[in-house]
């Protein structure tokens, strides 16, 4: 079966005045339909950069990325993107933010927006402005806005990083429900091991400077997952070991 996302030997290097910093080194990865891939790694491993490349927001790299067999040249609605901050339009209400450039007077848009508001559990807040929403609610509006465009893949860049622990676990459950109900392929960049194990079907562990894939850990736990279960703890420990295991620490110049 053709993968939704095919990433082949993607490399990227930052050039500054005196320094040449390799960010990504020959990353190859496939994402199948219905996959939930989590990418985890220390800061500076290039995981967010990789996500920006997949979104088409960053075009300066070598290698090859394809979405359903077609090269990724620019951002498009097929690649939904959730930023770290919600990035809603502050002058639009919740429902208009979800519709964005589409008209709510179009009955099919109206219907889809109403369904999504139900999916992200924001009923009653259709007419609220972003400043009236909490961080978690705003991020759910952003997710609904991306889903309205029926993306082939949803790219999430540490979407819950700025939320408090309580809201974060609620949001993880909400995201899981969304994924279960519409099976959009998801790529989640995170630095939270629990989040990765709780949500994904496999975890990609990345290494920093240069960023490369260190390990791929399939998560075959049944849903709903309990963070306290033994198998969960074992997987968490395994990923932690992968993250901390460094072959040549003296090579790191920070």
């Amino acid at each position: 079966m053709q993968p939704v996302l095919a990433i082949h030997e993607v490399s990227k290097t930052f050039y500054t005045d005196q320094q040449v910093t390799p960010v990504l080194d020959k990353i190859s990865l496939n994402v199948q339909e219905g996959d939930f891939t989590a990418i985890i790694g220390p800061s500076g491993c290039g995981k967010s950069t990789l996500l920006k490349i997949l979104a088409g927001l960053d075009a300066e790299y070598s290698g090859d990325v394809q979405l359903k067999g077609a090269p990724i040249l620019r951002p498009s609605q097929e690649k939904g993107f959730i930023f770290q901050e919600h990035r809603l339009f502050p002058w639009l209400t919740v429902e208009k933010n979800i519709a964005a450039d589409l008209s709510l007077r179009d009955p099919s848009v109206r219907k889809a927006v109403d369904e999504l508001i139900g999916l992200v559990k924001l009923n009653g807040f259709e007419k609220a402005y972003p400043r009236q929403l909490s961080g978690g609610m705003s991020q759910r509006v952003a997710i609904a806005r991306a889903l309205l465009r029926k993306p082939a893949v949803l790219l999430l860049d540490e979407p819950f990083g700025a939320l408090d622990a309580f809201t974060r676990s609620h949001m993880q459950e909400a995201l899981h429900d969304i994924w279960r109900s519409n099976r959009t392929a998801m790529v989640l960049v995170t630095h939270d091991i629990d989040e990765a194990v709780f949500l994904s079907t496999r975890v990609i562990v990345m290494d920093a400077r240069p960023g490369r894939i260190k390990a791929t850990v399939p998560i075959d736990l049944p849903y709903p997952r309990s963070r306290a279960s033994r198998s969960f703890t074992e997987l968490r420990t395994r990923i932690l070991n992968e993250l901390e295991h460094r072959e040549a620490p003296e090579d790191y110049n920070i």
Binding site: F83, D101, K121, F125
Partner: protein
């Protein structure tokens, strides 16, 4: 699932400001009215007792009487209508040019580099210095007046729109790219709403300037208009009519400003800023 606050609990503006104490609005009005009422009373008393010359300083009662007479004779509505049409035409012409040019200069770097230095240079030229040229080129007719007003109204909207566009959150442009906004949508759904607070401020300033330029234009030579009415009355030492003209300018200026303020409050309800 969490639902800590219900939409109903938020008030219309969604703000959580404390309501003013009862009767606060009335007290506010009284506090603002004390000074003008005092001045007008003193003025009336001084002229009634003959301490100051009514010929030179007129008096509130005389001015009110003139208001009545001029309205009945149809003179005041006639002049006011002509002045309003001039100011409005000038404002619309200059303001829309300022808005469009400000948008383009804000959106496109190359355009800014070519156009902005020239505009900034012209901005510092006093309008009174250009007026003789305008009269030479376009005569004493309506055209030179409307053009003079539009030149004055152009700059505040230009500068503020430009500033507003440059204040748009760059992160939202990424969102517009991901959502595949067309160039047109990017302009109407992102740049304009984000720049709206500055644009509205520009409109208020432009309206004020348009009104000021109107007086300049009408005092320099006109056959009708509130400015002409003042000039004409001055020649005949009719100070009460001069005062009628001055107060009309003040009233209409305040009214137009309040109108824009009204739209400002309605259109910028989404803003979350310090309200004092």
């Amino acid at each position: 699932m969490m639902a800590p606050i219900r939409a109903k609990e938020l008030n219309r503006n969604g703000s959580k400001t404390l309501p003013r104490p009862a009767g606060g609005k009335w007290r506010l009005f009284v506090r603002g009215a004390v000074l003008p009422v005092f001045i007008v009373s003193v003025w009336q008393i001084l002229s009634s007792t003959g301490t100051i010359s009514t010929q030179l300083f007129s008096s509130p009662a005389l001015i009110l009487k003139q208001y009545w007479n001029l309205t009945l004779s149809g003179e005041l509505p006639h002049h006011l209508r002509i002045s309003l049409v001039r100011a409005l035409l000038g404002f619309l012409l200059g303001g829309s040019c300022g808005l469009l040019l400000g948008l383009f200069v804000g959106m496109f770097r190359k355009f800014e580099e070519t156009v902005n230095p020239t505009v900034q240079m012209l901005r510092t030229v006093p309008l009174l210095a250009i007026t003789p040229l305008f009269i030479l080129w376009f005569g004493f007719g309506e055209l030179s007046k409307v053009l003079l007003i539009s030149l004055g109204a152009f700059f505040p909207l230009y500068v503020n729109t430009f500033l507003g566009v440059r204040n748009v959150d760059a992160k939202l442009f990424d969102v517009a790219r991901v959502l595949e906004f067309s160039r047109f949508s990017q302009m109407t759904r992102l740049v304009l709403p984000a720049a709206l607070p500055n644009v509205l401020l520009g409109i208020r300033l432009s309206l004020t300037i348009a009104w000021l330029c109107l007086v300049t234009a009408e005092l320099l030579g006109a056959e009708a208009g509130v400015g002409f009415m003042i000039q004409d009355a001055r020649a005949f030492m009719q100070t009460d009519i001069v005062f009628v003209g001055i107060t009309i300018f003040a009233l209409v200026g305040k009214l137009s400003d309040s109108l824009v303020r009204f739209f400002e409050i309605r259109l910028l309800r989404w803003q979350d800023s310090y309200k004092g």
